[in-house]
């Protein structure tokens, strides 16, 4: 029982610590702390599917994108939308809802899209699943960028209320962590994790692997959409390229580096890498560090993250946490968690 509490309390406390430390910093660093919280929400929502099922997905940022554009369009002022985006559907152009309803809408849009996409794709696993979800990402980006009836197209959507304060970011991230924890402890979550460890054995005790994967994919799509809503309310403006390959790469890197198979790994990876990432992003813009002016060339950030990701993948495929949940005492287990280190197919 105590172990169970610490498994959810530790990631939650880490996020609260980020919020508390972040809120006393200068405004530039405050923004970075907020983005760590939102990024953690995105990574945890990816973990809900990738971690529990052991199936790779390059497609989760498309759910984030849908949530972000959904929440952004729904809250941008109706007075300016029809003139800035004349091709927009009247229902979307005239819509103007509050902050909380827009987050709920983002979750609904993300979950619904994940369900639709998941129905065919959840039949695949391993390499095929990786490529198919990559295809989903490209299609979503291509459609969002060019279909101006449902979004701003290639233009930037701006004037979105920036309601993601420390309170909203913290509560949002904690909510995602709580849902992820509840799911992985639930009957469905355990069935899926059993299928990840040994598909044949899982099937032999009557687990419908495809259905379980679809449930996780939909839930994780809804959480990703919700996180997209948090993101758009943090940024205040968004275009399709901000929620595409770069974000896919960086969030996947966080999950891999932290440890794909545990909630603790997802949160640690997200906080650690987005912390480093934020620091380097500030450094690319030039910043003072202990009185010394530091400026690194642009591009350094993603090179560093990529290099760390490759090193971790090669020598510690279960991530820095070993893909284990945190516990009071340290258990030295020999067997790897398996979904990445052993063959996927």
């Amino acid at each position: 029982m105590r172990r169970k509490v610490v498994e959810v309390a530790a990631p939650a406390l880490l996020l609260i610590a980020v919020a508390v430390v972040g809120s006393v910093l200068s405004s530039g660093l405050q923004f970075q702390a907020l983005s760590i919280l939102v990024t953690a929400a995105i990574v945890v929502s990816m973990y809900v599917f990738i971690g529990n099922s052991g199936v790779l997905s390059f497609g989760h940022i498309s759910f984030v994108a849908l949530g972000a554009f959904g929440a952004g369009l729904a809250t941008a002022p109706a007075a300016v939308k029809p003139t800035t985006f004349p091709a927009l559907l009247p229902a979307l152009a005239n819509m103007e809802i509050g902050n909380i309803p827009s987050l709920a809408m983002a979750a609904a849009v993300g979950g619904l899209f994940a369900l639709l996409v998941g129905i065919p794709i959840m039949r695949l696993s391993g390499l095929s699943a990786g490529i198919a979800t990559f295809a989903v990402l490209i299609i979503t980006n291509n459609v969002l960028r060019n279909w101006e009836a449902i979004g701003p197209g290639a233009k930037t959507l701006s004037l979105i209320p920036t309601t993601t304060s420390f309170l909203q970011a913290t509560i949002g991230a904690l909510l995602v962590v709580a849902v992820a924890f509840t799911y992985q402890r639930s009957r469905w979550g355990r069935m899926l994790r059993a299928a990840r460890e040994d598909p044949a054995a899982a099937r032999s005790v009557g687990i419908d692997i495809r259905a379980q994967r679809l449930i996780a994919f939909t839930l994780s799509g809804a959480l990703a959409g919700f996180s997209g809503g948090l993101l758009v309310h943090l940024l205040g403006s968004i275009n399709t390229q901000q929620v595409f390959l770069d974000l896919t790469f960086i969030t996947l890197a966080m999950l891999v580096i932290g440890g794909i198979g545990s909630l603790w790994g997802a949160v640690v990876g997200a906080v650690l890498i987005s912390g480093v990432n934020s620091l380097l992003a500030e450094a690319e813009r030039g910043m003072g560090l202990f009185g010394v002016a530091v400026q690194v060339p642009s591009g350094t950030r993603l090179i560093a993250v990529g290099a760390v990701m490759l090193v971790v993948l090669a020598w510690r495929p279960d991530g820095i946490t070993g893909s284990e949940e945190i516990s009071w005492w340290r258990r030295w287990r020999e067997e790897p968690v398996g979904e990445l280190s052993s063959s996927g197919e």
């Binding site: 890197a253 591009g299 990445l340």
Partner: protein, 294 residues
């Protein structure tokens, strides 16, 4: 009629180019079970070699581009060595990471703006054949594509290392048991794909004169689509798939009404998903080899 012919010639030329890239991807997948997202960066590297050697003579520039692609291929082989025994999923993430890393090295070195290659711009001029106006580079890519594909086919069929590669592609474990040296075959495969990337860049450098850090990636992605659609497990099928995508891109770009052309990418990737679901082994692979599976 002439426009139709014109479009078909252009489509064949782009198809040939994509077929060469697809062959590179399929070769590597065959011997390593690795889908190499970072393959495009070999093309990008060779393209930047063309940028840096602007002042030199054409043969030197050609040599530099190919040399850079080869060196990069060997380095990539070394960098990806720890992933040889990983699952295809892990190596897919790893090459994705490597691709991003290299793209950002290019950002660091050259910025995100396009840089001109200035490589043989004269080849973009058209020659008139009756009513047909064909650019020299189209002829070059057709001839070069056919020549490269035949050369690789000969290499695979007639030489010892070619035989070993085909054996490794068919069944890596058995090939090793029968005495095929894994390191040699894989390094050779990387070198061969590096050479292919270098040659492709020479043609691309004329057709698309601006290189950006994502130059190669943008070219790799549709070729990868072709490989998946054609069939990754077979060299011929994967290469045909690449050709098919290049060919279809040009034809559909002409046939589709203007407003829907921007969604061409979506259509291609939807095709990928459908093929993965309906014929996971690929369109150009016959299904009767099922019994081989263990």
């Amino acid at each position: 009629m002439t426009t139709t012919l014109q479009v078909v010639v252009d489509a064949l030329a782009l198809g040939a180019l994509f077929a060469v890239v697809a062959l590179g991807i399929t070769l590597l997948f065959g011997v390593m079970r690795m889908v190499n997202f970072a393959y495009g960066e070999l093309i990008t590297a060779a393209a930047y070699a063309l940028v840096l050697t602007k002042a030199l003579s054409v043969p030197l520039r050609v040599g530099a581009a190919i040399a850079v692609a080869l060196v990069m291929a060997v380095l990539m082989d070394l960098a990806l060595r720890p992933f040889r025994s990983s699952s295809p999923t892990t190596s897919l993430i790893a090459t994705f990471a490597l691709s991003f890393l290299l793209q950002n090295v290019a950002v660091l070195g050259f910025g995100t703006q396009g840089t001109a290659m200035d490589f043989l711009p004269a080849l973009n001029q058209a020659i008139a054949l009756g009513d047909l106006r064909i650019r020299w580079i189209t002829v070059v890519s057709l001839v070069a594509g056919a020549a490269i594909l035949s050369a690789v086919a000969l290499l695979l069929k007639r030489t010892d290392i070619g035989l070993q590669m085909r054996a490794a592609a068919a069944d890596f474990t058995t090939a090793r048991i029968l005495g095929v040296r894994a390191n040699r075959v894989i390094t050779f495969a990387f070198l061969l794909t590096g050479l292919l990337a270098g040659l492709v860049t020479l043609v691309l450098g004329v057709q698309r004169p601006l290189v950006t850090p994502s130059f190669g990636f943008n070219f790799l992605v549709p070729a990868l689509v072709g490989v998946v659609v054609g069939g990754m497990d077979r060299l011929v099928a994967g290469t045909l798939g690449g050709f098919f995508v290049g060919f279809a891109t040009v034809i559909l770009g002409q046939v589709l009404p203007a407003g829907t052309r921007v969604f061409l990418n979506s259509a291609l990737f939807a095709l990928v998903i459908i093929v993965l679901l309906v014929r996971p082994k690929g369109l150009f692979v016959s299904e009767q080899r099922e019994y081989e599976r263990v």
